[in-house]
Amino acid sequence: MEIFIILIAPLLLAAISPLFKEERPLAGINAMGHLAILISSISLAIHITGAGKIEFFNLFHLDSLSAFFILVMALVNFFSAAYSAGYIRKDIEEGFVKGKKFVQYYALFNLFAFTMFFTASANNMGMVWVAVEMGTLVSAFLVGFYNNKKSIEAAWKYLIICSVGIALALLGTIFFYYTASRHGGITSLDWTGMMLVAGNLDPKVLKIAFLFILVGYGTKAGIAPMHTWLPDAYNQAPAPVSALLSGVFLKASLYVIMRYTAIVNKCMGPEFTGKLLIFFGLLSIAIAAAFIIAQRDSKRLLGYSSIEHIGIISLGFGIGGPIGIGGALFHVFNHALSKALIFLGMGGITRKYRTSDMNSIHGALKIMPFAGVAVLIAAFALAGSPPFSIFTSEIMIAIAGFRTGHYMATIIFLLLIAVIFGAFIHHISGMIFGKGPENMRKLGTPLGAKIAVILITAVILITAFATPPFFNKLLASSVNILRGI
Amino acid sequence: MNILLTLLQTITIITLSPLVSGFIRKLKNNFRMRKGAGIFQPYYNLSKLFSKEEVRSKNTSWIFRSAPFITLASSIAALLLVPAVFSELSLNMMGDILMIMFVLALGRFFTALAGLDAGSAFGGMGSSREMFISSLAEPSAILAVFSVAMNTGSTSLQAIAGVPIIYLSGVVAGAALFIVTLAETSRIPVDNQETHLELTMVHEAMVLEYSGRSLALIELSSHIKQMVFFSILAIAVIPIGSGNIFIYTLKIVAISFFVALLEVSIAKMRLFRVVDLLSFSLILSIMAVLLSAIGI
């Protein structure tokens, strides 16, 4: 059973971390472990498209949707783990990380991975809440890993804002439980159970419950205006952790929102959640647009880009229909990969220049050719330009918008992403092109990073036009799950 | 048969074109109560220039050398397009009244380039002003031509000349074309052929560097070009009596008379007043198009 590997491997990796004295072997084992997890998750995905679902312990329930999110998480985890190896070593060499602090990093890294995998596979929504909260607590240490003023400030904001959010999410969960037990007649918080009795639930309560869920988990997912912690955390966390936050943490929170949305939609149709999700989606894109235009810090730029993409996903999800939801899910996948790619490049660049201020970074293509190219590709991919896969998912969402009659929302969406494209490319091209600093030495890229960059580029290029059949099936059945079919 | 007549006509007009210039000059002198040179003076000038030695700047290139021939060719080709008295289908097939504008542009283009070729400031200034004036004259010329052509439904000069009706629009267009003619043939108030004063020269400045044979060719093509414009005025604006040599001659004489009268009665304008004159011509031609649209 792949799922055991996926759940236990991170715990094991976390448990053995303190045994290591040197960083190098630990990083290697960590990366290998995550590769194993990735392979298992692919196998799980293939398995699930055949089996439909896996349930055990009365606690875990895995269907296509879970498998899909686990796949995305495992992908990002793997790239992040591989990238961490070089990144943390460099930190040790430069004295940012002293002594055995790297053990702490890897242990937290894996604990975080565990909580996220747990989130995607648990059936009980209460336990899901617990897992997300645990993930927040663990990652707070990762955000504050460098232990300097700024990173502690970021970590504090992250912790406090997410705690408020998660409290509201818990209230929403309580509401769900209330109506499930009162009107549905079940005394558990199992998602499957709630889906079964969804028709009997009280719409009035569901509405209010959904509000709290949306605001609560939305805080974690980085939906505006609750996104405020996100750019700070991106800015201060080590680059692999930023990649994890965007590729895993935000997606996990969205996953939870999606699960709840499915229940609400099954009870009272998609209008209510659709309107809310479209509203918050557009708001996120718009706010991200403004901040991207006025941005001066490269890592914060990426943070706002994540907010934008979260907005796009929730917009697609709110628009609904098979194409809309399919597009949103596909976008989850695409964004995770493209974001990972840009972090692979950008992390090295900001470290080389010892600043993330875009006004001080020029000519990265001259100094770090490979990283520069990676950032450039990723930037165009993120900005939604073909032939990269984000274009495909965005156009799917737009098509769905026009199909379901959300004309205004779609038009605003398309114009906003065009504006974001402009600002984003403007910022990135300023960093990548131009003359590099005079006395800076050219820096090569390690082979591992090169392979990762080429791999991701290939994937986002190919998936723009064709996806493997198991992936299609996975996506299609995930869409059906979310539509309650 | 007809083609021979037409060719003969063209050769005749080419031969007589300096005479028209001489005639105008003579008229002007008479108006000014002066004796002036005889009407054959342009011929004397040409023959003198043709046999004189040519002095050429060492800065020049083949553009400078070929420009006189190209200019001459463009003027003659334009003349061939004008069915002054006799008309011939195969020549008519070469092009219409719009074609005349395009063909003349060829000569102008090369003369202007030649003006720049020697590297003197005079030539450059002349080229600049020539292109300036001609480009601003272009819209009113086209509109006037359109107005005339709209009356007959064809831009073919043969067709236009073949409809012996005087339209009011034709007259107004004629006035506009007359102003264009003044501009294109370097007449007062736009330009002054008789002076070599730096501030006022346009055409003359452009060809200042020419001498001898080349200058003769340039002057000859100016005479021919003048005949092209006069003939267009004669046959297109007042399309009566086409095919009749005498009426045609009469019309040319009348136009020459007008030009001479105008030249002695007004002063040359400075360059940026010319714009006003050309705008006036433009307004006239727009009115002409308006009248044509109404059908009068």
Binding site: E133, L137, W156, L159, Y177, V205, I208, D232, A294 | -
Partner: protein, 212 residues
């Protein structure tokens, strides 16, 4: 009747926390609030004869009435934080705003939720009020510890809501949530230490290095 009184007392202690200007007062307010919450849960447990609820009540007493206030006070003493909480909004206005939030909670409860018994309705209303006021405390107080306290008020509210809903959530969920909150407070405490060490103060309103 008794339970109504407990609820009322909880609301009053919450208001007392809003009005508090000093750390000690705030923590004492929290102790009061948690104590009444404990009483409330205990009564509920006794009445409905839920063994689980009794256990939860016991946990509540240990963690919220004893452990958390103690550690808060310890942290406060250890880092020698100033007693003053630093108010963005003065107590009078704060109380008015909190009153508004309570009214909102009341309206909301009446319109949306219809519990079987009056007591559950009231509990729900109070819990919502506490959550909103908790957030408000976090917004309006400058010190890091005050924000922790605000968070604790929210969590008390949540707990109340959970117990109002048919006698608490599934037991293991409840335990997990407890554990989580416990962990959360501990970690927040760690970060308060860190802030104090790096910045030599815990005025979170001065942590504005990251913006835009």
């Amino acid at each position: 009747m008794v339970m109504d009184i407990f609820l009322l007392c909880m609301l009053i202690t919450t208001f007392a926390m809003v009005a508090a200007k000093r750390m000690t007062a705030l923590v004492n307010g929290f102790i009061g609030e948690s104590l009444f919450l404990f009483f409330f849960t205990l009564t509920l447990g006794l009445r409905s004869a839920h063994a689980e609820l009794l256990m939860v009540a016991a946990l509540l007493f240990i963690i919220k009435v004893i452990f958390i206030p103690y550690s808060l006070k310890r942290i406060s003493n250890k880092i020698k934080a100033e007693e003053d909480l630093g108010l963005f909004i003065n107590p009078m206005v704060s109380i008015f705003i909190s009153g508004g939030l309570v009214y909102l909670a009341y309206l909301f409860t009446r319109r949306i939720i219809s519990m079987p018994g009056a007591i559950e309705n009231a509990a729900f209303f109070v819990s919502l009020a506490m959550i909103l006021i908790g957030i408000f405390i976090m917004v309006s107080r400058m010190k890091a510890l005050a924000q922790v306290a605000g968070l604790l008020v929210i969590e008390n509210g949540l707990f109340l809501a959970a117990s109002a809903v048919s006698g608490g959530m599934p037991f293991f969920v409840e335990i997990a949530i407890f554990f989580d909150i416990f962990l959360c407070v501990t970690i927040l405490g760690i970060f308060v230490y860190k802030i104090n060490r790096l910045f030599t103060h815990i005025d979170v309103d001065k942590l504005t290095e990251l913006k835009g």
